[in-house]
């Protein structure tokens, strides 16, 4: 099997083999030319480097002056591997280019054996980004290019990587399935807020059947406990709350569960 022609190519087809219209092509061209603005790209990079290793004030470690110079050079666009690492366990050099958004640094990691190993060299990205390969046709109009660069607001202190916090069940979930599960649970919540506790319980029970290994088990259970309580089934709410708190003692919903099903 070979790939079909892309819609944006000359003679590209869409739908039922119909020719691509100019508007369709322009919409796709807009998507292809969507880029981060250069300042944002630089700020995000700074945030990444700041989280990989903490900064060390230049001058406090042997060899930092040389490292700073090399990093600065890299930041100005050479982007080549730095070689000025001194044999200082865990030493880092971060060079800030006059308060600009670009930074280069050179990380040296120790493996705990007393030896110093150059694990990975990270240099600042060049100031100007190379353009993405232009689509064969339908280059976006110049006057609209600015609008295709989306403004993002990088946060100075981003949370650390949250990795696999949400567990395997969440990772297994396909986007549409997660959305479907969320929709059902939210609908149950709305029903409960509208005062229909029995209706909410029915929806939650259906969700339990449909998304047995879903990613929103805690939320479903917490809502169920509240719905049981509001439906007058206080004993059932208490019983279920005890199970919930045993299973998820650190749950963000623990306070709510205690409120409606606590002893």
């Amino acid at each position: 099997m070979s790939d079909p022609r892309r819609m944006i190519e000359p003679d590209g087809r869409s739908g039922d083999g119909e020719l691509v219209t100019p508007l369709e092509r322009e919409l796709l061209g807009a998507g292809r030319s969507q880029k981060l603005t250069s300042p944002n790209k630089g700020r995000i990079w700074m945030g990444i480097t700041a989280q990989i290793l903490p900064p060390v004030v230049p001058g406090h470690l042997p060899g930092t002056e040389a490292g700073t110079g090399a990093a600065a050079t890299a930041g100005l666009g050479t982007a080549k591997a730095l070689t000025a690492a001194s044999a200082v366990k865990g030493a880092i050099v971060i060079a800030m280019l006059g308060g600009s958004s670009l930074a280069g640094y050179h990380a040296i990691r120790s493996h705990g054996t007393g030896d110093v190993a150059l694990k990975r060299t990270v240099a600042a990205p060049p100031r100007s980004s190379p353009a993405r390969a232009a689509p064969p046709v339908a280059e976006p109009m110049a006057q609209t290019r600015q609008s295709q660069e989306e403004a993002v607001v990088p946060r100075a202190t981003s949370p650390v990587v949250r990795g696999a916090r949400d567990g395997a069940a969440a990772r297994r979930q396909q986007p549409s399935r997660l959305a479907a599960e969320g929709s059902v649970v939210l609908e149950a919540r709305r029903t409960l807020r509208d005062g229909d506790a029995a209706g909410a319980l029915r929806r939650l029970e259906a969700a339990r059947g449909e998304f047995a290994d879903g990613a929103l088990v805690q939320e479903r259970e917490a809502l169920t406990i509240e719905a049981l309580y509001r439906d007058g089934q206080h004993d059932a709410a208490t019983h279920r709350a005890a199970s919930f708190l045993r299973a998820y003692p650190g749950s963000p919903h623990a306070a709510s569960v205690r409120r409606f099903g606590g002893p």
Binding site: M1, D3, P4, R6, S14, G15, D16, L23, E24, E26, L27, L28, A30, G31, R32, Q34, K35, L36, N40, K41, W45, G47, I48, I52, A74, A79, R120, V122, A123, P125, S129, R132, P140, T144, Q148, E150, V152, V153, P154, S158, V160, V161, G163, D166, R171, Q173, Q174, P175, L178, A179, G182, L186, R189, R193, A215, L216, E219, L223, P252, H253
Partner: protein, 177 residues
């Protein structure tokens, strides 16, 4: 490649992938950082059996999914004092961007079925091959093609519908007004 080189080459790709996986604009910088921190942690284990872009996409997918999950949990746990339903701020922003081609594209993509959207974006916008998409999404190549076919139809229908219901912005978007 160093992390910096990967960032320089793929930051825009990562950003687009995250946005099209439902990461909102004001969360995208944070999400991009998260992706590249994962890259930093796991780069040594990347063996080059797949394309770098394919690998990055799978990371984006995972990060976006975790964020959607967190957003859902926050939504469910949201205090009741807030009004359910329509997000007025999002509506206002949408109105402001109404005439923008990119906004039109995003609207169409967001309304598309998630499975179809993934294939459509990777093929038609990110220039991945069918094989690469098959690898990135862990689906057979035939499924890639069938989803692409359905997605193209959905895209075409959505563009036609948009032209019929809101012709003025579309004409401007086409640059022929």
């Amino acid at each position: 490649m160093t992390l910096a080189e990967i960032y320089e080459k793929y930051a825009d790709f990562v950003w687009r992938a995250l946005r099209r996986q439902g990461v909102p604009p004001d969360d995208s910088a944070d999400a991009i950082q998260e992706v590249f921190l994962i890259v930093h942690r796991t780069l040594d284990s990347f063996e080059g059996r797949s394309l770098l872009s394919t690998w990055l996409f799978t990371i984006c997918r995972s990060v976006a999914r975790d964020r959607r999950l967190r957003a859902l949990r926050m939504e469910i746990a949201r205090p009741d004092l807030l009004v359910d339903g329509v997000d007025q701020r999002a509506n206002a922003a949408a109105r402001l961007e109404h005439n923008d081609r990119l906004s039109l594209l995003e609207t169409i993509l967001q309304r598309m079925d998630g499975d179809l959207r993934e294939v459509f974006v990777l093929f038609e916008i990110e220039d991945m091959t069918g094989e690469e998409i098959s690898q990135a999404l862990s689906i057979p190549l035939g499924t890639v093609y069938s989803r692409l076919q359905l997605a193209r139809k959905a895209f075409k229908r959505a563009v036609v519908r948009m032209e019929m219901t809101n012709p003025a912005p579309v004409v401007r978007a086409g640059g022929r007004a």
